[in-house]
Symmetry: C2
Subunit: 346 residues, 2 copies
């Protein structure tokens, strides 16, 4: 093996545009135009350049291009935590949609280092990144600061609703209405004492879903008394804990609307361990439609989030923001109530 200095992992220096130019017997400028498919080039020259590039295994250097163009064709995706199965699914669709638009994605999860996402805002400003996709209600402080200072940056939020049109575009569903629909369905099944297993009390999604529950009960003249609101969280264990304690301090409810599918999994496991049957003794519904919800025993009634559509629409919106300076706006997508046996009158 030929001797190489440390860190020099490339077998030979890879070809640059100048190399291709030399091979094809043209100038670098012509290569650039030919490869980009720009107008004033003979078909014959284009062929020759393409051929030379292919044979030499040429690929443009993204950094040189980005530096020149001041556009990187990279979208940053900020994800809180991949442990919630909503995110991987969303991310997969984001990746696909971005690639189809000619973008690559960088990802960073925000749950751990609070400093980290601010760094990316600086990079966005410095031109290293073209735009940022937020996939939760978290927003880097620095970004908030810039926006209130009047900056218009290419940022789109999805999955979690943006409370008001505040300078960040959004692609979301009507969380409150969806929750309302679930509770309404439980009422039509004849349930009267309908409890709510609440999510983290500060998360916007959790607040909206709780409000939907309250509203539906009120519209049906039912009570949402304090013993029916069960504070919990979005995790399986939050649900399980609730399932273990349910009915200890008050009568059992007829049905429980859980703020998400994961907490519903835990709740059902907890109830089952105590010998309570779903839906015979108690009906359960969730929210999110994770893929496991359909194979659960019993299958879980839930709300389908249009994750693919959310991913695609937010990528497209972000691209429009980047490339066309489109206005900031919020898109509301349709949700769907999936009625499965966990909530059906037995």
């Amino acid at each position: 093996m030929p001797k190489r200095k440390a860190g020099d992992n490339k077998p030979t220096r890879s070809p640059t545009m100048a190399d291709i130019a030399r091979i094809a017997g043209v100038s670098a400028a012509t290569v650039s135009r030919a490869l980009a498919g720009l107008p004033p080039i003979t078909e014959e020259t284009r062929q020759r350049v393409a051929q030379a590039a292919k044979e030499a295994g040429y690929a443009v250097n993204r950094h040189a291009r980005s530096l020149r163009l001041k556009r990187s064709k990279v979208m940053l995706v900020l994800i809180p935590n991949l442990a919630n199965p909503n995110f991987p699914d969303l991310l997969m669709h984001i990746d696909r949609a971005a690639y189809d638009c000619g973008y690559d994605i960088m990802i960073a999860h925000t749950a751990i280092d609070p400093h980290r996402s601010d760094r990316y805002v600086d990079e966005l400003l410095a031109g290293g990144l073209d735009g940022v996709l937020l996939t939760a209600d978290y927003c880097p402080p620095k970004l908030l600061e810039r926006i209130s200072a009047g900056a218009r940056l290419p940022i789109v939020r999805t999955l979690s609703p943006t409370p008001a049109p505040n300078g960040i575009s959004g692609v979301q569903i009507d969380e409150e209405k969806a929750a309302y629909d679930v509770v309404n369905h439980l009422v039509t099944q004849g349930h009267r004492r309908i409890a709510h297993l609440g999510g983290p009390p500060k998360e916007i999604v959790a607040i909206a879903r709780k409000r939907g529950w309250e509203k539906a009960l009120a519209d049906h003249g039912l009570d949402a008394g304090p013993d029916l609101y069960i504070p919990a969280g979005f995790l399986i264990d939050d649900g399980r804990r609730a399932g273990n304690e349910l009915g200890e301090h008050a009568a059992l409810p007829d049905a429980i609307f859980c703020s998400n599918d994961e907490s519903a999994y835990g709740l059902m496991a907890g109830l089952k361990k105590r010998g309570l049957r779903v839906p015979h003794d108690i009906a359960v519904a969730g929210f999110d439609d994770l893929s496991f919800s359909a194979v659960l025993d019993p299958p879980l009634t839930t709300v389908r989030l249009p994750r693919q559509e959310m991913a695609e629409k937010s990528v497209w919106k972000l691209r429009a923001l980047i490339e066309e300076d489109a206005p900031n706006d919020i898109t509301i997508l349709k949700h769907e109530l999936l009625i499965r046996s966990s909530s059906l009158r037995s």
Copy 2:
């Protein structure tokens, strides 16, 4: 709002190193050194530069830096498919470990466009990317080609084993031995007719796990006859289909070792629907230790993959390959058999 041309989303051009130099009253080179913390700089100058950079909201332009350094501080992660919960978990740890080493990650899932991963190999060669992390046995054809041509590239594979030291480093477990351990455990529980629900017949992981099953049976003088091998796949539905048909053409086995947790979920659902109880009528074990496996009813006996360690070790290995031209090698990590009630003699 001031008039701006289309695509100009930045409120004002963000500061460059030259701007900071002017503000701090030094040269650009000094700014570069001060910010990088390089030796020959007065503490006082460093302070002044840091201050100026902070006030101006300065961030280095990553493309300019990468172009100059021929090093991008970006690792590409090639993921087949985020739908298998192994990957999100792995990815999360990769992100964290990479960030701690000063790298960002770009991700691309490979399951759809076969052309795509080859493009990244070109980019790697062209210096746009520092290294690639493969998280399955898939390897871009172009990469294989380069390697057999003698190229040494910064590539690490994890999660799936690399069959032989062939120019790609790896971080993996001994899949065959782990499968052996599971089957061995089933034997100690008194089971004799132990079936195997096989994964995709061409995937290296599936092949290794099957071999472990065969070996364990052979070592115990048990039969691995053809009616005990059930060809399936890695998906829930593959397992469910098998569960629905099990015992139709032959006697029911005592136990089933599934090639992964997901197919075990489906299998258990299928068996349950037919009134067969796990583990009372039939014992079940899986492989992967997905987070749902512990909350299943009954909780699933499985093999824990050290995903966090895999993620960290592979990032570190990749960094060594990039920065120190380290030799290619394979690291084998310890696995762990998690015995839960799905496999215990009732």
